[in-house]
Symmetry: C2
Subunit: 136 residues, 2 copies
DNA sequence: GCTTTGAATAAGACTTGCCTTATATAAGGA
DNA sequence: TCCTTATATAAGGCAAGTCTTATTCAAAGC
């Protein structure tokens, strides 16, 4: 199962959010999930299995308990895939770094700087921009 | 359809990669995809529809042609969701920025600095670290 | 006007994923 | 030992997604 398929399920996304806060037992995860989604314990267990088998989590036993920990490797893959699109909403993050994209776009509307996507169809009539690749 | 569901399909991911390079006609996308996946024209068209209806692309007509352009908004949502996990593989990106996580992890193994995930089960016996949240 | 090209839609088969109930397995405690 | 708790697995039903072929619709070109 591909990382994106795994993340396609809202229950699994929620589980990962929980695990992002720290290691949790299967029981704790199940309890939290069941409050939000009203599904059975086996259903949660099956989601945990998917996460396990696709590498999003690792498990260790402590008595009868199973302690789930996040393993970020697949999430990182997703992040890597996303990288090629980031230029569409982020101006290149140079030395300084973290200016809000929202602010940047607003500024672009004044000075006309090309920063990536979100150009409306109309804009094309105004220039010879045929290709639209990010991070130019 | 949720953004992650849309990205769950490899054909759609490929289409987005193509569109990331610039606007493409439906025909151009179809040709490229059919070389890689061996599916029919309607199949590609249906994927384009999904991308359209879920906001990943916008279309404009030029004669009989349909020109597809990427709309990064949903990708950005995905990126935002991923943000909470980024601390697991990135040391906080301060002023300087882009040190490879690989290098950082290696260093951590020496000085014991807490930087996020990927701590092995054994490590737990060495300290009172009960919670494991990124970006601490 | 007719035919061809570009692209979308329709209908139906097939597959896959998710959930449920029932059950298994193993640890903990009386 | 027996019962309970913690968790996982099994089997089957149902829903949703993706593919295919057939068809529609609109623009282009002769």
């Amino acid at each position: 199962m591909h990382a994106f398929d795994v993340l396609g399920d809202p229950v699994r996304r929620r589980i990962l959010e929980l695990l992002a806060e720290g290691e949790r037992t299967s029981g704790a995860v199940t309890a939290a999930i069941r409050e939000e989604f009203a599904i059975s314990q086996p259903a949660v267990s099956q989601h945990l299995r998917v996460l396990r088998e696709s590498g999003f989590t690792t498990v260790r036993a402590e008595g009868a308990r199973r302690l789930y920990t996040i393993d970020a490797a697949p999430l990182r893959e997703v992040d890597v895939w996303l990288e090629r699109f980031r230029g569409f909403w982020e101006q290149r993050l140079d030395a300084l770094g973290t200016e809000l994209a929202r602010g940047k776009r607003a500024r672009r509307l004044h000075d006309g700087t090309q920063g990536g996507g979100n150009r409306s169809a109309k804009d094309r009539t105004a220039g010879r921009a045929k290709e639209e690749t990010p991070g130019g």
